[in-house]
């Protein structure tokens, strides 16, 4: 069995840093893309334009389906579909796509609930002044919706940091998998998983802080 002296080396540190990087990469990139795509889906679902009815239907179908699928199932679905069309893509890339797909569905619902929380008369007040749909969104709806959207969206992302551990099933060496590898190498579970635990905690904390900061910056004064 390897002891503490062997554990606290630059090799182990580099190995863990790489794993941490992959965990963060999947979470941050996946959730950021998911937020943007989720925003698009939420907006599509809110339109009333008859021509967009098929798009509304598809968006709704997507959100309802992907929110109900376990993340592991999404991972496996993406793995097989990507291997069929783009066999060269890395496992990390595949896992990131899966995170994006799951985050899109969840965040679309969170964003939609936030937009719906802005009272209808606020939008009508803007509409009768001739403001375009984009201006209504930008100046009236979003500033009032951020306060409702950001807390659950941030909570979702912080929670999803953990779910990315499932990507280890694909063979992505993220934090949880790294802990297992270290233990297999002969380090004590206290050391191997202890380090992983500390790193997870160290990641979630600043993520939560960053979200709180963003919320302060974006939320309209009245709602502060």
């Amino acid at each position: 069995m390897n002891g503490a002296a062997e554990f606290f080396t630059t090799d182990t540190a580099a190995f863990l840093a790489g794993a941490l990087g992959r965990t963060l990469w999947m979470t941050l990139l996946g959730c950021t893309l998911g937020f943007l795509l989720g925003g698009v889906l939420a907006l599509v679902r809110r339109t009333r334009q008859p021509l967009l009815a098929p798009a509304r239907l598809l968006a709704g179908l997507y959100v309802e389906t992907f929110r109900r699928l376990p993340f592991l199932v999404i991972l496996i679905l993406v793995l097989f579909s990507v291997q069929a069309v783009a066999p060269g893509l890395s496992l990390l890339g595949i896992a990131t796509i899966a995170v994006t797909l799951a985050a899109t569905a969840y965040l679309a619902e969170i964003i939609r609930a936030g937009l719906d929380a802005v009272p209808r008369p606020q939008v009508e007040g803007a509409e009768v002044l001739g403001l375009s749909a984009l201006d209504r969104l930008r100046f009236v709806v979003l500033p009032q919706a951020w306060g409702v959207i950001l807390p659950p969206a941030a909570a979702f992302m912080v929670m999803f940091v953990k779910d990315t551990a499932l990507a280890s099933h694909l063979g992505v060496v993220e934090l949880a998998f790294a802990g297992k590898i270290l233990v297999n190498k002969g380090f004590s579970p206290t050391l191997g998983f202890g380090a992983v635990l500390v790193l997870y905690a160290l990641v979630s904390w600043p993520l939560g802080r960053a979200a709180a900061h963003l919320e302060k910056k974006l939320v309209a004064p009245r709602h502060r």
Binding site: P121, Q122, E124, G125, A126, E127, V128, L129, G130, L131, S132, D135, F139, V140, P143, Q144, A220, P221, R222, H223
Partner: protein
């Protein structure tokens, strides 16, 4: 030619007919008051006029030109000439009073920000709120919010102003300040279409009174004739109910 000519206008929600062939006209400078029991379609008429509720039949002409409510460019043009003030003010909660007044002129009329702000301050002064430019709606009383809302509608320099029960959501002691604002406004020669239950005010300010019931115009005429010698029994019973109450 009338400034506003409404002919056989109909509208409804989900199959229910709410407006059932309403016709009325307003000349430039007219102050037309809509009265009638609640649920008679007064708000719906104003909402159709400003393009919030689609008409199901009839026409609206402004200076003789029919408005195509299905066309977004036509709606945009309409909202440069017509503005509305709602019962519940609907001020943007995330903006100061002044920003409420400048947003639309800057974004839709292409007015420079400095000019919009100067005009906005003038308008706030006109409604007696020069010192409230930086206040958020939540920091203002109902009466103050409603005056800001009137100023916001005026910032678009409309020819026709629609006012939907603008004093109904206010504390009784705040009603007077808003009515004073409308009186001052009436003297500027702007054309107004207003819904109100303040019968004394309606009688004093209107050039024309329109009695509505069940989505139709019961009768219309100068205030003296509607209040003193209404032709229709429905108008008479409404007046009696209002006076008794």
């Amino acid at each position: 030619m009338s400034l506003l000519d409404i002919a056989e206008l109909s509208a409804g929600y989900g199959g229910n007919t709410i407006l059932d062939g309403v016709s009325l006209t307003a000349e430039r400078g007219d102050i037309v008051s809509l009265i009638g029991p609640s649920g008679s379609g007064k708000s719906t008429l104003l909402r159709v006029l400003i393009g919030l509720t689609p008409p199901t039949g009839g026409t609206v002409r402004i200076d003789g030109a029919a408005v195509d409510y299905a066309d977004s460019a036509a709606l945009k043009a309409l909202r440069r000439r017509m503005s509305i003030v709602f019962q519940q003010f609907n001020l943007f909660q995330n903006m100061t009073a002044l920003d409420n007044l400048t947003l639309a002129p800057v974004r839709t009329l292409g007015v420079a920000r400095a000019e919009a702000e100067a005009r906005g301050c003038d308008l706030l002064a006109k409604v007696g709120l020069a010192d409230k430019a930086g206040a958020y709606p939540a920091q203002l009383s109902g009466g103050q919010q409603q005056r800001v809302a009137i100023a916001r509608a005026l910032a678009m320099q409309p020819e026709i102003l629609l006012l939907d029960e603008v004093t109904s959501a206010l504390d009784p002691e705040r009603v007077g300040e808003v009515l004073d604002t409308i009186r001052t406004l009436a003297e500027t020669g702007i054309t107004m279409l207003l819904v109100s239950h303040e019968m004394g005010f309606v009688r004093e300010i209107s050039t024309k009174v329109v009695m509505m019931d069940a989505g139709r115009v019961v009768e219309a005429g100068p205030p003296a004739s509607i209040f003193e010698s209404p032709r229709e029994t429905r108008t008479r019973s409404f007046m009696q109910a209002i006076i008794r109450h």
